[in-house]
Symmetry: C2
Subunit: 158 residues, 2 copies
DNA sequence: TATTGTTATACTCTATAACTATA
DNA sequence: TATAGTTATAGAGTATAACAATA
């Protein structure tokens, strides 16, 4: 005699799920940090499209603006980018007239990256937009919680 | 007479940067969350390679294990994935014998996803490895800080 | 010998449109 | 008419190896 295995154990073999439980994943920092980052970046992409700046473009422009004369290698180290992936990005920003490349004062191999007036003007608007969308994305956090969150995240990657 | 413009303004036009200042980017949640996530994921990729599980594979397996019978659509909604990108992933897990697909008990269009004994055994090891590497990645945080960080991140994306 | 910037290239990840079978 | 799963495909993001010019 053949026993119907589907009905032997405590749990049926064929079930349907009404509410998906993700409580285990929610205990993992990597999962939560990634989900939070993607949520903010999604809004970032929408709001920054008007400036033609994706997240990495914005980061690169920001560092150049605050560090005029910075080199590609320094950018890579500061933002954890790979040199080959920065080449096209830099060329694009230069072609748009947002940055200029000038010979490095002491290292003949390197090029110093400088913001143009147009680049600085664009970044002033873009930074304001970024700050605004960040506040909105974290509207469920108090100012103190927001500061705490920044500090704790930096303890992970810095 | 031609004035050397490089020496007229307060700041020289050609400069070099010794220490790169990223303090502005560090005020942005999106930037910090992304950097922290990538830092943890980098370790995740190294440690989980032995199980053949990338981050999304692990997330999918975890949800299937804790929600036997879950459908692809439910997975997509829970993990913020797009259906077409899940197809190959599910097929791969099935081909490896880690999950099985069975007809949904009430919806003829859907397939219920179930962990196999092999899949459950693998995930038990993988989850332990994940927990371990998370603790190491957040070694500069106290247990209380780690819990706070999880809560604050979930206030962003949940 | 090491480093900066670069080219070429491959691989992964993510996104969109359109189709089928079923609800 | 709407939804679950799928196919095909395009685009963005990320990775490695190798080269020329300079330190």
């Amino acid at each position: 005699m053949i026993i119907d295995k589907k009905r032997v154990g405590r749990m049926p073999t064929v079930t349907s799920v009404d509410q998906v439980d993700t409580s285990y994943l929610q205990t993992l920092l990597g999962y939560n940090a990634r989900r939070a980052a993607l949520t903010i970046i999604e809004v970032f992409l929408e709001r920054m499209a008007q400036f033609g700046l994706r997240p990495v473009d914005f980061s690169v422009m920001s560092v150049i603006q605050h560090n005029p004369g910075v080199t590609s290698r320094q950018l890579c180290a500061a933002l954890n980018l790979l040199p080959p992936n920065l080449v096209g990005l830099i060329h694009s920003l230069e072609a748009r007239g947002l940055i200029s490349r000038r010979p490095h004062p002491t290292d003949g191999r390197a090029m110093g990256l400088h913001p143009t007036p147009e680049g600085s003007a664009l970044m002033q608007q873009a930074a304001q937009t970024a700050t605004d969308l960040e506040i909105e994305s974290s509207s469920r956090l108090t100012d103190a919680e927001r500061k705490t969150l920044l500090d704790l995240l930096q303890k992970i990657y810095l």
